[in-house]
């Protein structure tokens, strides 16, 4: 803890050049993305396991707090991606260090240039939403915050669990604190190259994902009767669950393309992100074996939970009744006006969707 405070204050005091600020931004943007990733993977899995919760999560995403967060998220991803390319590139050719300052400025400029049209498009979704009657249904801030409490609790439990586990393993291992000789770590060698290779693979995947889910269609389009991005299907019931079902139901050449895409993204981003978290945490916990090991356990727990939860959702079929449950949840959430009719017609039109979505939503309920 003291070394974190020291590093924070001294980084502000040391007159380092732009490289120092690139490093600070890379860490902050990385941490921001990992935090959102945790929420996002868990609540997307609810589309499969708890449709009602998923509807509520998407409703929370359609509030000003998360709209601001979404703009921040996109900015974080874009900066982290461009700066990651700068890092990886110079790592392969150390002699190019003399271009690093220029590269750092180019990264900032490119981030700005990318974000202008992206933010304009994203903002147009926001404007469209607040001009539509649906904006009357926006959840109040207090309720949105209350919905996030389980996440805060979950993260707190993971942190406490990691520290306790570290304490227990520390007691079992005993006080072998004696200075051990430095020796090569094959694991760190692996992680160093993994971070660079996975980073390169993630860039096109995550840019595609952002383009589809945040820019071409925004979070507000998830609950409208439009053609679902990247598929020929229409979200008949205008529920978030059907949106997910449509995407994950698209089969091209016998392959569930978006499931494969999302799985690749999930695995690479989760491992990259949580190893990054381990880097950041272990940098500042070197003086305490308890906290250092706890950092490693926390990163491992986080990665395993997200891979298991996200993987389970991606390898499961969305149950037949999920869309109806989602419609009911929408009705309950928005007090019924207007939505009720759509819910009725939606149940009927759900059938057409079912025919278009092979092997996905048998819709036995209607």
């Amino acid at each position: 803890m003291t070394s974190l405070v020291l590093t924070l204050t001294e980084t502000l005091r040391y007159r380092g050049a732009i490289g120092q600020w690139s490093w600070v931004l890379h860490r902050l943007t990385g941490l921001g993305v990992v935090l959102f990733l945790t929420l996002h993977v868990i609540d997307t899995s609810w589309a499969v396991f708890y449709p009602e919760l998923y509807v509520r999560a998407i409703a929370a995403y359609q509030t000003p707090l998360f709209t601001l967060g979404e703009f921040g998220l996109v900015a974080c991803v874009v900066y982290h991606a461009y700066n990651g390319l700068r890092i990886a590139l110079i790592d392969t050719r150390p002699a190019w260090w003399k271009y690093q300052q220029r590269a750092a400025k180019i990264v900032l400029a490119a981030t700005g240039i990318t974000l202008v049209p992206v933010f304009i498009l994203m903002f147009s979704h926001v404007v469209k939403f607040y001009q539509s009657p649906e904006s009357a249904n926006v959840l109040p801030l207090v309720e949105v915050l209350r919905e996030q409490l389980p996440f805060i609790a979950g993260i707190a439990i993971a942190v406490i669990g990691a520290v306790l586990f570290s304490a227990v393993t520390g007691v079992i291992a005993g006080d072998s604190e004696a200075q051990t000789k430095r020796q090569g770590s094959q694991i760190e060698r692996f992680w160093w190259s993994f971070m660079r290779i996975s980073g390169l693979l993630i860039v096109p995947l995550v840019f595609g994902h952002l383009a589809m889910m945040h820019i071409l269609q925004g979070v507000f389009d998830i609950t409208t009767q439009t053609t679902v991005v990247g598929t020929p299907f229409i979200n008949e019931s205008a529920t978030a669950v059907e949106f997910v079902a449509n995407r994950w139901g698209l089969v091209v050449g016998g392959v569930f393309v978006w499931r494969v895409y999302d799985f690749a993204l999930l695995v690479l981003v989760t491992i990259h992100g949580f190893n990054g978290l381990r880097y950041v945490l272990t940098d500042y916990t070197a003086k305490s074996r308890l906290l250092k090991n706890a950092s490693i356990y926390l990163a491992t727990i986080g990665a395993v939970v997200l891979l298991v939860v996200g993987g389970a959702a991606l390898f499961n079929t969305i149950p037949a009744t999920a869309i109806e449950q989602a419609e009911l949840a929408m009705e309950r959430l928005h007090g019924g006006e207007g939505e009720a009719h759509e819910a009725e017609s939606g149940a009927a039109s759900g059938e057409t969707a079912a025919e278009e979505v092979p092997a996905e939503t048998p819709e036995s309920g209607s």
């Binding site: 040391y14 007159r15 050719r93 002699a95």
Partner: protein, 252 residues
Amino acid sequence: MDLTFRIRRFNPEAPEGKRKPYWQEFTLQNVDETDRVLELLHRIKWEQDGTLTLRRACAHGICGSDAMRINGVNKLACKVLAKEVGAKVQIEPILGLPVLKDLVVDMEPFFAHYRSVMPYFINNSAEPARERFQTQHDRELYDDTTKCILCACCTTSCPSYWANGDYVGPAAIVQAHRFIFDTRDEGAKERLDVLADPDGVWRCRTVYNCTPACPRGIQVTRAIGEVKLAIMRGSPEGIIKEGVGEIATSSG
């Protein structure tokens, strides 16, 4: 011209309760713009406050004794002129090593890291009659890293080192680089193994504070990068390409 100094002081022998580090200001008159900061610190010590403690030996940028943080950046006091620092200059000890008194830090942890990379020539083959020959090209591979004077400017400019004193630090990696890329040396494998430790080169996050901090102009981050690549490939061979041959051509 007048020059105001703001100096970080610490007296370990001060009475209990007064032992905290503090800032103290001194003003010097008749400062010449070509005076070096080291000389001005001497003037303060000799003319105003004899208790001001600092370390220096050669005073000409060779011995590496007077590294300190001058206006927020690590430098050798003997290589900074008054005209470079403005009318007000702030001076504090380098960060990451225990402060003994005022601007003097305990260099032992720094030297322990230095020793850990085996900074000496290793070659167990039979000694030749005269000397071990090396081509000009091969000599240039590590020319840059021979310049290190162990002043600790780079290591104590590194946020990774501030946070974690177990990190071997830029200077030790530079010193290891000098031998790893020496074609006559046979200890590269052992050194690469030491530096592949989790607290070896992997703690370098390419922040680039070390390179501009070096008073000898060593391309520190580049050297660390080359050692990382040597670890990845298991051998230093063929890693350095750019920049080699420059000395041979420039000297004609």
